[in-house]
């Protein structure tokens, strides 16, 4: 089992960014990655952590882990899907 934290290609700090712009910034960051690469996003507790991982899954990407940090925010690791999804 590979430790996904060692594979992180990019990190996007979305503390203080509300829905839906946190999803927009996540998608922009994902678009810059190659298929299979891992993005770390930092999301606020509350609506962001409750909504963004589900939206990312619907786009076909894999949510590898969700870890709450000491300040209450969440670190979410997402692996980019092998191909660009056409429809959810």
């Amino acid at each position: 089992m590979i430790n996904p934290e060692r594979e992180i290609t990019a990190t996007k700090n979305l503390r203080g960014v509300n829905c839906p712009m946190n999803l927009v910034y996540t998608k922009v960051a994902m678009a810059a990655l190659k298929p299979g690469e891992v993005l770390e996003i930092i999301l606020d507790n509350g609506p962001p952590i409750n909504n963004v991982p589900g939206s990312v899954k619907k786009e076909g990407h894999e949510v590898l882990s969700q870890t709450q940090l000491t300040d209450g925010a969440w670190s979410v690791l997402v692996r980019k899907s092998p191909q660009t999804p056409k429809s959810p």
């Binding site: 927009v24 910034y25 922009v28 678009a31 660009t84 429809s87």
Partner: protein, 267 residues
């Protein structure tokens, strides 16, 4: 393309859509769409495509804004009466979205000039108001191999179809030639319920966006028509005809001709 924070916010509702996303918005920004006619159909199409961020939008019209246009041609305001329609429309488009480039073509299209005008665009929206020009647009787009959306409204009725030359049925496959000029009522005699211009023009804008983003199924090989009084929509399947004088196996139309104009026949 690189987006500023403001642009990401502007286009956020597109980017969120799984089918569009950042890649789709990039395609929208790179696209060039030509709108023929800055009237009832062209106005909503121009405003929505500008709002969507289509990178280059051409708009062709030779007319000036008339007071009787304002009931349905929503790109024009009362203070624009007497102004060139293309300049009036371009001003509203860039006011909605300063990111885009608008090319106003203040001219009347004819057989001699249309091919050169449309050649530079990825998709054409036919928002013209008369049958001769609709046939001219169809023929020019097929000869230049440019996909387009046909549209027409009259009274309470609208109809539209999308043509991808070489792949789907063209307007002439079904409607062989323009009706005789005296067979068609002029719009000033027939009238039109203003809001149906928005119903139809926004369908045409949607087809342009689907084409440039390569999502969904285009309205090809299908004539979509509606009667706003009953609010019934009808889809009539069409087939590409090998006997079509334009896109058939032995075409007889290989260059453009001007038909007698009866302006305002289908506005």
């Amino acid at each position: 393309m690189e987006y500023s924070a403001a642009q990401l916010e502007r286009y956020s509702r597109h980017i969120i859509l799984a089918e569009v996303g950042v890649e789709g918005q990039d395609k929208i920004a790179a696209a060039k769409v030509l709108i023929i006619g800055a009237g009832g159909l062209g106005s909503p199409a121009a405003l929505y495509l500008a709002a969507a961020g289509i990178g280059t939008i051409g708009i062709v019209d030779g007319d000036v804004v008339d007071l009787s246009n304002l009931q349905r041609q929503i790109a024009h305001h009362t203070r624009d009466v007497g102004r060139d329609k293309v300049l009036s429309a371009a001003e509203k488009m860039t006011a909605i979205n300063p990111d885009i480039r608008v090319r106003p073509h203040q001219m009347l299209l004819d057989a001699a000039n249309i091919r050169e005008v449309i050649r530079d665009y990825d998709f054409v929206i036919d928002g013209t108001d008369n049958f001769p020009t609709k046939f001219l647009v169809n023929d020019a787009c097929v000869l230049e191999d440019i996909p387009f959306s046909h549209g027409g409204i009259l009274r309470f009725d609208g109809q539209t179809m999308t043509v991808v030359p070489g792949k789907s049925s063209c307007y002439r496959c079904t409607f062989r030639q323009p009706p005789p000029p005296d067979a068609v009522p002029t719009c000033s005699q027939a009238g039109v319920l203003g809001a149906i211009a928005g119903m139809l023009g926004t369908i045409q804008a949607t087809e342009a966006l689907k084409y440039v983003t390569e999502i969904g199924q285009l309205l090809t090989d299908t004539l979509l028509s509606f009667d706003a009084l009953s609010m019934r929509f009808r889809r009539v399947p069409l087939r590409r005809q090998s006997s079509c004088p334009l896109c058939g196996t032995n075409p007889t139309i290989t260059e453009l001709v001007d038909y007698q104009q009866n302006a305002c026949a289908l506005k």
